[in-house]
């Protein structure tokens, strides 16, 4: 049965440039470079499609593997809603590269611990 996917939360954002795509995980600080075929698969997923089900002949396994990578990176999760049909035309393997060289910048906003008794929130003392 075709499976639909979605981004797990608002921390996953993406922007398209020409035919390629950059995905940012604002929580982990990682960013991902996706090639043209991967961008087509990603946008198909974001439109509610099930691209591994409609991939061109010979591409289904590559698309399925790509989706497994997206799941592994935490960029998508299963969506219970039924998929919608969108055409997918790719002629090369979808690929994704992960980078973390900007993570210090992207995640410069940590979760703060707080001390209720202090009246105002404070950082906890270091052990």
């Amino acid at each position: 049965m075709p499976q639909r996917f979605k981004t797990p939360n608002e921390n996953i954002v993406y922007e398209q440039f020409d035919k390629d795509l950059v995905i940012l995980n604002l929580e982990s600080g990682q960013y991902f470079g996706v090639n043209e075929a991967g961008a087509a698969v990603w946008l198909n997923l974001m439109d509610g499609g099930a691209p591994d089900d409609i991939a061109p002949t010979g591409m289904a396994a590559l698309v399925a593997g790509f989706i497994e990578q997206l799941l592994g990176f935490g960029l998508i999760e299963a969506d219970a809603a039924p998929p919608t049909a969108h055409a997918l035309e790719i002629t090369t393997a979808p690929t994704i590269e992960v980078f973390d060289d900007l993570s210090d910048l992207i995640i410069a906003d940590p979760i703060h611990d707080v001390d209720i008794e202090a009246g105002w929130p404070t950082m906890p003392e270091q052990d």
């Binding site: 910048l105 410069a108 703060h112 707080v114």
Partner: protein
Amino acid sequence: MGTGTGLTDRHDVGAATLGRVTRRVLDQFDDLWSDMPEACSVTASVARIHCRSDVPGYAANVARTLANTGHPSDPDIRLLVIDCDRDGRPGFCWTDRHFNERAIEAATYEQPLRVHYYSPKRFWQIYDRANRIGIQFSHGAEGLPDWDSGSPLRNFLHWGLGSGDTGLIHAGTLAHGKSGVILAGAGGSGKSGTVLSGVMRGLMTVGDDYVLADFRGGLKLRPLFRSMKQDPGGLARIGIEPAQGRTNWQNKVQFLIDDLNSEAFVDEITPRAILLPRISGDGRSRISPGSAQQAFLALAPSGVSQIHGDRRSTVALAGRVARSLPCWHLSLGTDPAEVTRTIRRFLTDGAP
């Protein structure tokens, strides 16, 4: 506790109650506004900012540091800056075990409310986008974040001036006439030194750290702050000897662009390209093609780390700017005058 509305009440808040409690405090805005002793009104490109404060000198610094130029077309914004240590004001108290700014951001994204909390200074900013009012709570004479003096009210400006077509970007700018470039890159890339050198040698700017990108009627860059900062070594390279003891928390000297060149600060630039500077150590500067992805990755991460509470908008704006302009790498030569000549030639003659 936590049921009052005035500044003398302690406002207990957690993730589940933040919206309600914050709304209750913002509902008191007009009463609080009338009690504030210091006031200033300045133009931040497309809107008038009215600030009142009981933090000594705060309004004066806002008046000095904000661009105070432009043609306001958007409704006015009113901002209150409150010292919670005065008169025993306890202010907000976060009662959950953790403060997760991203979770708060996600919960308020579809609402008019924006919130920023900087725990080391117990510093809060809350803003109502619908009514264009905001309150900043700090804590005593040392209660402001280190970067606040150079770019006061920065988050409020992003929240207040930001729309689908406008928002703050973290970048430097230079222009020849009205035609300019965006300089994007992380700290240490040479961005500020390049702006500084250009300003000293007759190029124009709308700012170094944070500028307003405005897509209404075609992309324009507009100024928000007159301040710049540079390390003493960078100043020395262009022939400026800073006074001793004037460095900030980054060991950088903070000053106004007007101090360097009173003609350099303009109220609008039409950007023609994004330049990604990089200190090369080579004798001559070189300009080579870059990509929109590279421009995006130079703009977006530093933007989301420095402009709080609205990161999806910041990322989307960075993407739109990156798609709108050609991108070039600028390998910086060692001679600041030669770097400025290279940029001037790029602006007058086009890409190499």
